[in-house]
Symmetry: C2
Subunit: 339 residues, 2 copies
Amino acid sequence: MTQSTIKDIARELGISPSTVSRALSDHPDISINTKKKVREWAEKLSYQPNSMAQNLKKKSSNIIGVIVPQVKHFFFAAIMGGITDIAYDAGYTVMICQSNENMQREIINTNALISHRVAGLLISVSQYTTNYEHFIQVQQRGIPIVFFDRTCEEMKASRVVVNDYGGAFSAVQYLIKCGYKRIAHLAGPEHLAISKHRFDGYCDALKAGHITFDKRLVVFGGLNEEDGVTGYNSLLEQADAPEAIFCVTDPVAIGAFSRIREDGFKIPDDIALVGFSDNPTVSLIDPPLTTVRQPAYDIGKTAAALLLEQIHLKSKKFSSKTITLETELIIRKSTRLIA
Amino acid sequence: MTQSTIKDIARELGISPSTVSRALSDHPDISINTKKKVREWAEKLSYQPNSMAQNLKKKSSNIIGVIVPQVKHFFFAAIMGGITDIAYDAGYTVMICQSNENMQREIINTNALISHRVAGLLISVSQYTTNYEHFIQVQQRGIPIVFFDRTCEEMKASRVVVNDYGGAFSAVQYLIKCGYKRIAHLAGPEHLAISKHRFDGYCDALKAGHITFDKRLVVFGGLNEEDGVTGYNSLLEQADAPEAIFCVTDPVAIGAFSRIREDGFKIPDDIALVGFSDNPTVSLIDPPLTTVRQPAYDIGKTAAALLLEQIHLKSKKFSSKTITLETELIIRKSTRLIA
DNA sequence: CACTTAATTGCAATCGTTTGCGGTAACGAT
DNA sequence: ATCGTTACCGCAAACGATTGCAATTAAGTG
């Protein structure tokens, strides 16, 4: 029924709880005899220490909190995999919350995690988060925090990101090399760092390729599949169909992909398409998508490792660092040489 | 720096911690004046209650523990979404662990969650788990437990599953109706309930279609993509290529899909393919996959709701129930009418 | 004025665990 | 017989919050 405690073992053996505690932690003051008996009874009662009591005493937990927009997206799911693997190895457990791209919910999640006195926080911010007060709060409490992917540039905090700029640049550069001239960009929310960096990469690649920027070929929107179709629609409203589209994420590319096929256009013959992430899906569609690979699982591992490092440093040397992982252009069949 | 406590507020106002506690919980004994001052200071110190202390006192937590094989698989990721949504609405937080299909790790995860005194446990067992001792332990402690998808039939416990048998049956029945005769089955691990049920559905559909069962057309394996390619390989070792393959999961189907394409065979002309789950990927590949849809997000929601129900019932009326969600055959282009 | 009653608040114990410090017993040494 | 060691072990406080009960004060009553 109810869980057994150190006191139960103590009562059973007619000794004090302190002795049991020390016996279980192999304290030298305790005789091997007592230790053996304590361990036997602990086993017999299938005793499991109460982490809450332990953490309360220690004034620190072995929980790391994670907030992501939506777990169901492969990118975040893969990151979660990396995080939980690292946490597991370090003896930590992870508490996960999803903001559902909603700032209010993100705030509540943050407070819930604070209440649980997480040892640290791993966050990828909601695309509609515009105010960072709740994250600043976290720092003021001395809770280590590491942002990943969707970072918060306004804050002095550690981050794990990928080379968004470089990835975007090489993707667009490649399109230009293929001979495309009218290259559109389905961008993300304007205030998000990843959007900005990928947009910058797009712009600079155009510049480097001596193609003049045409703002009618850029539409800012969201990061998910539905944004791909709405984005493509508003692209067509502003101008004639472009020759190629560089999308801010794979889901956006998938959205555009479906929309394009609906129109009966052929990829890459009528229009080329490039994504960003290399989700497993995009290599299986027809034609398989050219995309910029980012190492999702490694982002999770790296972010978790960085957080653990900060946790163990105890805010001594609070040197927030940014780790940038490399991206890689994966060329598939949704783009081709023309002219 | 350090988090403020009820005592800090008490000291600040020159009152006792008990009064602060009662004020914060709006106890009628406390004067509105005191309440106002307490709330002001709580706000000023950005006080967040220490859940550990609260839970220790209450001898129960507001954490629900989840163990899944791998979060990165869409099916589980989507379920996680459902779980966290329901948990959020009920004021619970979610602790997530992944077993990585490893029983030892599953055991350690279970103990970690027990240590954190989770209010309840949601589990989808690893495909290599053969011993259920650790789950029985959980029940003996009086911790509510709900299995989902990969359930544990040997135990008297609540479950949320889909109609695996019916889904498999209708899929194979459909294949027969299409005119296929040599229908193979890439099955899952033999001891897993979902494998068994889907296999049974396969068998019974054959029987109903007056097709004699050929054991060379069935290979038992794993549930993931790699198992699709190895499964397909051993299928070819045992017999000539079948006309159609019913796969135990979408990832297995994807594995077989890639393998079949490598061989230069055409789907569905040379060979038909059916999956199970309706992961988003399979509708995008070419040809889009015929599959049995199971409502992943709803499985998560249902399992979480059922668990919460059990938690609130406090083991009073311990009536373990099984909720079966319906499946739906989604017919796409990886199968066709023949002859 | 003495006494009851209502309105507030504080004391102290409790949840399960940890840990500094003090205590006891046994032993050998002087 | 006295003292010092050594080896074990227990007491009690503490972590932060909650809560039954007692205490205090003020107000109301006869």
